[in-house]
Amino acid sequence: MTADGATPTLYDISTGMAMSLMQEIAERLGILAEGGEPHAIDLLGIPMSKRDRDELEAMLGRGEVEVTLDVAGASRLWETQYSGVWWIRHFGEGERVASERIEIVPVPEILSAHRLDMAAAARRLSDELAQANEPIPQEESAHV
């Protein structure tokens, strides 16, 4: 039985949590727009019914960007219809949502490549290029 099917009555209740989260998001987005700090809201730590979650998702809507990450499992990120408000959903084992948060930030940090990763990538790339530029060994070229 699915989590929702077990107790349809309770999972269907709208508690008004979506609306109060919208208030928080609006306030924080205002702060960010005026040069303030980014903010994040962990949705798993908030007692929300499935209905609440659906309501919040509908209220925030979809914006211009949608990204799929494939790192330590799948993740889906999208900017909502409000610029700077991002919905970030990380999947864990078996398609379940392992972590879900709203980030109020110009670009979620997870999208930027890290300096060390770039350094490692640069090394790898130059290694590969160096390998490609090496003179091709004689005996192998004979087969081509």
Binding site: A3, H90, E103, L116
Partner: protein
């Protein structure tokens, strides 16, 4: 096998990007109820940390705790914990056996003296010198004392290690005790549960690695992040309790409607654990959602608290001899005092008559 390189360097070597670490830190912040904005700093701290050497000791246990931790499939966010630790000894999981296995433990203890973490699952037998549970020619008691001596901290995983658990249940034939009864001079974190939730085990270890300190604990040594609320407080059936709607048996209308299970013995109101929020088997369900009351498995002596199906508000006694004896004694004493009064009266009227 302990690593001198940092976790960040190790991940780069393995081709795992910093995004994975950031994602893991976010996940960790979420399960440990830390501020979500702290995940960047946590990822940085993790990257700079060295892998934590862990020695895992299995005593009087059923391996359910190890099962709980390892039941996830790659590549997922949950099993990144194994990139953060260097599991230097684990009887069930390690490939080597015999002398080589014990040698690995000794080596890890020597190389990481004062820095390794000892995870214990299972209780420690103490009766008759602890002979009821032994391996590699040593009793669990000896192994624990020897391994804990130079440890940074101990983590008691599961109710057996934390509180004695099932081996400790009456009549406790092996004299089983929790780790904290044996080791008193080291910090001990208890992660009880039968078994504990995988996220609670991994989250606590990750916290230790990330922040290099022990998370905030409750009066029973349990991390408050996972054991701060009762099952009842976070139970999705709580509104039914508040309304007074209870299932009276496991197949009545109330049970089918998903009403509160208090009357069929749910121990949720007095049990501190995260089952109602983190849930089990990859978030599928938890006992109450599956229609059974909470057994209270993360609390001390849960096995001996008067029965899983006895409601919390009912008494757990029921010794007919005490109750019946008291009633009979009361009646006898009462009758005797009345008889005395009668006799006094009779003798008084006898004197009057003479």
């Amino acid at each position: 096998m302990s690593e001198q390189e940092t976790i960040g360097e190790l991940l780069v070597k393995r081709g795992i990007s910093r995004r994975a670490l950031l994602k893991y830190a976010g996940y960790l912040a979420s399960v440990m109820a830390l501020p979500p904005t702290s995940s960047t700093a946590m990822a940085q701290a993790l990257a700079n940390a060295r892998r934590q050497s862990v020695i895992w000791l299995s005593f009087q246990e059923c391996t359910g705790c190890t099962e709980s931790l390892t039941r996830s499939f790659s590549p997922t966010i949950e099993d990144m914990i194994f990139d953060l630790i260097s599991l230097d000894y684990h009887e069930t999981l390690q490939a080597v056996s015999g002398y080589a296995a014990e040698e690995a433990r000794m080596q890890a203890m020597k190389e990481n003296k004062g820095k390794y973490v000892v995870v214990v699952d299972g209780s420690v037998s103490t009766k008759d010198g602890g002979v009821y549970s032994a391996n590699a020619g040593k009793t669990n008691l000896e192994t624990l004392q020897e391994t804990a001596k130079d440890a940074l901290a101990l983590i008691s995983v599961g109710t057996c290690a934390a509180f004695g658990g099932i081996p400790h249940a009456k009549p406790n034939p092996t004299g089983a005790v929790p780790v904290s009864d044996i080791i008193t001079d080291k910090p001990i974190i208890n992660i009880p549960g039968c078994p504990p939730i995988a996220e609670a085990i991994a989250g606590t270890v990750a916290y230790l690695v990330t922040f290099g300190k022990i998370p905030e604990l409750d009066h029973l040594g349990r991390p408050k992040a996972f054991f701060g609320d009762t099952i009842h407080d976070r139970c999705y059936r709580r509104p039914f309790y508040d309304k007074g709607l209870f299932a009276k048996s496991f197949d009545d209308e109330g049970a089918r409607n998903g009403w509160c299970l208090y009357e069929v013995g749910c121990k949720g109101p007095v049990t501190y654990n995260a089952c109602a929020t983190l849930k089990w088997n990859g978030g599928v369900s938890f006992p109450i959602q599956s229609g059974h009351g909470c057994l209270g498995c993360s609390e001390p002596d849960f096995w001996d608290r008067g029965g899983f199906y006895k409601p919390l508000s009912s008494w757990t006694g029921g010794n007919a001899a005490i109750i019946g004896g008291a009633a009979a004694a009361g009646a006898v004493v009462g009758a005797a005092s009345a008889l005395l009064a009668r006799r006094r009266k009779a003798s008084a009227s006898g004197e009057k008559g003479s």
